[in-house]
């Protein structure tokens, strides 16, 4: 982990240097022409016009309340790009957000070719919709996606994201700073490190205390129980092993059932999920297949 951390940083420095050299004009120009009030990008034509309008309406209503852009992107293919890269580039290039470019945004992207699904949270949504919350949302909507119930899946996405955005995140102490460009990558990394142990119940002192007390109680109980002497005979003590045996037996095959289950994708729940875009915007994320 430490090595990859260093690697990430050096890569980042390299990226930033490249970015400084690159002409900045084009992406910003694009961001300006981008319609920030448009939330549904159904490039794969999975939705009917009516559904699309309905989702657009719900997304804008919910979005207003949470000051966040709920964006849905469907793709036939990503032109060879990884879906994570695609989403990051989408954010960098178009700069979506509720009322400002590169603002609070949560994106659901699905790629029909690779059958990839990816959720990413930026800015406030990165804090409120951390990796684990995005994992929960993704797990909930994946069955619908697999069944081809795209409208249902997208509704689940907007509703759940809306609900989670209304609840304080688990790690309140790591507040969101609002500075999304240069400073955030490091913040993102320290978030991961500090955030992990406190999430796991095993690392909680109260849990450890309870375990210790239960352990001590059980051991003392066993000691008290054994103080009176134990039964030291077992099933073999009195058995006549020469004459005790199975006299007759049969095992008839009756029937068989087979159930199948989708193989869990390797890169799901791998802890990460989030990352930093080339434009320096850190985000949370959850990735899977459907």
């Amino acid at each position: 982990m430490r090595e990859s951390h260093i690697q990430k940083r050096s890569l980042l420095v390299l990226l930033m240097m490249t970015l400084l050299v690159l002409p900045w004009g084009m992406p910003t120009a694009k961001a300006e022409t981008f319609d920030r009030n448009h939330y549904i990008y159904d490039y794969a034509h999975l939705l009917t016009d009516g559904e699309s309008v309905e989702l657009q309406h719900v997304a804008s209503e919910r979005g207003k309340e949470r000051e966040t852009a709920f964006i849905i992107i469907t793709l036939d293919d990503t032109n060879g790009k990884d879906i994570v890269q695609y989403v990051e580039d989408f954010y960098d290039e178009h700069g979506p957000g509720f009322n400002q470019p590169h603002g609070n945004t949560v994106i659901l992207a699905i790629d029909m070719n690779e059958r990839d699904v990816y959720l990413a949270g930026f800015k406030k949504a990165e804090q409120y919709l951390d990796n684990s919350r995005l994992d929960l949302i993704r797990e909930e909507l994946t069955p619908d996606l697999s069944d081809g119930q795209y409208y249902d899946a997208f509704s689940v996405f907007i509703n759940r994201a809306y609900e989670y955005m209304g609840n304080e995140p688990d790690n309140g102490e790591l507040g969101y700073t609002g500075n999304g460009s240069i400073g955030s990558p490091q913040e993102n990394i320290s978030y991961d490190i500090k955030g992990h142990p406190s999430k796991n119940i095993f690392f909680q002192s109260w849990f450890q205390l309870i375990v210790s007390l239960i352990m001590a109680g059980v051991v003392v109980m066993i000691m008290a129980y054994r103080a009176g002497g134990r039964v030291t005979v077992n099933a073999r003590t009195y058995m006549d092993s020469q004459r005790s045996k199975v006299v007759d037996q049969y095992d008839n095959f009756v029937r068989q059932t087979v159930t199948k289950q989708k193989k869990p994708s390797n890169n799901t729940n791998s802890g990460g999920g989030g990352g930093v875009t080339r434009g320096g915007h850190s985000h949370s994320g959850s990735r899977g297949k459907f």
């Binding site: 103080a227 009176g228 005979v233 009195y238 005790s244 007759d248 068989q256 289950q261 193989k263």
Partner: protein, 342 residues
Amino acid sequence: MILHYKCPSCGSDMSFDAESGDLSCQSCGRHENIENYPEELVTTRFSADEASEYHCENCGAILITTAETAATSCSYCGAAVVIADRLSGQLAPAKVIPFTISKEEAMAAFQKWCRKGLLTPKDFMTADRIKSITGIYVPFWLFDLNSKVQVNAECTRVRTYTQGDYIYTETKYYDAFRDINLDYLKIPVDASVKMNDELMDKLEPYPYDLLKDFKTPYLAGYMAEKYNFTDEELFPRAKEKISGYIDSYISSTFSGYHSTRIKNKHIDTRNVKSNYVLLPVWMVSYDYKNLDYTFAMNGQTGKVVGKPPISTGKVTAWFSGIAVGTFFALKIVSFVMGGELW
């Protein structure tokens, strides 16, 4: 009829000696081999109510006994006496395991056992308040049981394999049947109403290779009782003792399966043979803080059973020690793991 053993050389009282396994005379040291001792008791018949009062052969005093007492000492002169009509005919034991642990050894072994108790109060450990220590031949029935078992079960075997993007779980169902013959030999069940069953069960096992043909001189100097329950009355308890063994044997015959659901089970247990035997037990009565504690010791193996008092102080010490230790261990583990995660 009262049996009393007089030394042929000096005329003093003889009693059983646990160390040599002979009848011995305390005055002149003469040893008398028991196995060659003439025994005509088993064939002698007494009517059940022949005598309600027994007189000591040695001094003539009345022997104070309960209805079950088969061997005791005269409370007046101390001579070892055996009440023969309570050990004859129907009541004659087939076998006996003689004591090999003498009274002094039993005392020492008990004191050693007391010191080992982790939760025993400190002043109990000294074991200096032993009220009495009595060697008793406890009546037992040894059951030879034969069980015929028929079991029908639905069993499953589960296999998982991966093909393409899917994990397949294949469950095969089998209709399985087992016809099992089980023989259990010499299951001991105590036949005395005075003895605590739980305590007696914990005293097992007894070394059956030391079973000797019953001779009355083995009882000289000890207490002995005749049985209160017949083998027929105790048969249900013998069956109960082996029911767990039978169940574990049945499940061992289905070991190749992932799950076994017993559909029907038929167990028919018969009493092949039951022998009346006397097994040696030292009973220790201990007075601690005005409460009586009873312990039993296997007179052959020296195993001690019985609930000693529990010290609150020691329980607290162990409890807090383990709790604090575990807590710190967990802290260290989580610290190390946290470090690794980083």
